[in-house]
């Protein structure tokens, strides 16, 4: 079985236990995904499957994509992602994968990969959690500044700022994995997964949900 699925973030809500304990959940509409390609050790050097998700109109796709999807007997897909496998795939090109892959004991915990919300150009306090400068005691117009970024003439290196120095800049809109989130409920009829906690990105974002690598 493939331990992963592509999905769409639908939003967050609560579910209530019998004793009234509320759990915060993210609703993900995952699958059905079509297997577009199966890679194996002999021809590709590693085992993996390529999953296609979200139909797109042929005129919005490319001929290459249409032809690639046609081999799997389906229309072009808007989201195509590859999932690495430890063992040779047990599915064939054209198979449809649904939330059933997580059913039962298959996955109690999942990792969710997505793209975080873009925050734009942000200062060091928000971006890296710097403490900023004092509010008073002689500080002038520098309350949120990073402070020093290194000596003016480090021995041997000349005047330079070390690479990787944390500064202000673009924040967010990067790939992010939230790991080991509990899978609370599966609704096979509507292709829904209820995952405890939050996942990256806005509502409507494309996500990759896979069986947790850290926790079974």
């Amino acid at each position: 079985m493939i331990p992963a699925l592509l999905g769409t973030k639908m939003g967050m809500t609560l579910i209530l236990g019998e004793q009234g304990v509320a759990e915060t959940v993210t609703v993900v509409r995952a699958g059905p995904c079509v297997v577009l390609q199966v890679k194996n050790k002999e021809s590709d050097g590693y085992d993996s499957v390529q999953l296609g998700f979200r139909d797109v109109k042929p005129h919005r796709s490319t001929k290459a994509m249409i032809g690639h999807a046609a081999k799997a007997g389906t229309g072009p897909k808007g989201a195509v992602r590859e999932v690495r496998l430890d063992a040779p795939a047990t599915v064939a090109v054209g198979d449809v994968v649904t939330v059933d892959v997580f059913a039962g004991d298959a996955a109690k915990y999942v990792d969710v990969v997505g793209t975080t919300k873009g925050k734009g150009f942000q200062g060091v306090m928000k971006r890296h959690g710097f403490g900023g400068m004092p509010g008073s005691h002689g500080t002038e117009r520098k309350h949120r500044s990073p402070g020093g970024i290194g000596a003016s003439a480090p021995r041997g290196t000349g005047r330079s700022v070390k690479k990787g120095k944390r500064m202000a800049g673009h924040m967010g809109q990067i790939r992010c994995t939230t790991s080991a989130l509990k899978l609370l409920k599966i609704d096979a009829e509507n292709h829904l997964l209820l995952i405890r906690g939050s996942v990256p990105g806005p509502v409507g974002a494309l996500l990759l949900v896979r069986r947790s690598k850290k926790r079974g």
């Binding site: 939003g11 959940v25 609703v27 609704d187």
Partner: protein
């Protein structure tokens, strides 16, 4: 479609007939308390000072005075822990949020009782209905 799906997810957790009450009402909230094996009902009596949220997130805040100290508890309307809400007295209020009661001391804490004389005037404008 997104919202419809979310409603679908929430629906099984919503109460079929949510208890009816208004801001300003003096209520008995029957809470289910589980102590080990045993289960009992505890009553929290006080004035509803706020009622907010929609759907499964709908909550209300009850304020009471315990030993000269104000105590507020916030409940989820649809929580199974809230067994029932009995309205003891209706209050005549002109606000949706009665946070001003926190500043009141002694007799000034009391709200005028809402008396309904005519069936027709059952829902007057002065009753700040935040009930959904």
């Amino acid at each position: 479609m997104s919202q419809q799906l979310m409603n679908l997810v929430e629906k099984p957790y919503l109460k079929a007939s949510p208890p009816e009450f208004h801001v300003g009402d003096t209520v008995d909230v029957q809470c289910r308390i589980v102590e080990g094996e045993k289960e009992r009902i505890q009553i929290f009596n006080g004035i509803v000072i706020a009622h907010q949220g929609r759907g499964i997130n709908e909550t209300f805040t009850v304020r009471r005075i315990v030993g000269n100290e104000g105590v507020e508890r916030k409940y989820l309307v649809h929580s199974p822990g809230v067994v029932d809400i009995k309205v003891r007295r209706r209050g005549r209020v002109r606000r949706a949020k009665l946070y001003y009661l926190r500043q009141r001391i002694g007799k000034a804490r009391k709200l005028r009782e809402l008396r309904i004389h005519h069936k027709k005037a059952a829902e007057p404008a002065v009753l700040a209905t935040s009930a959904v």
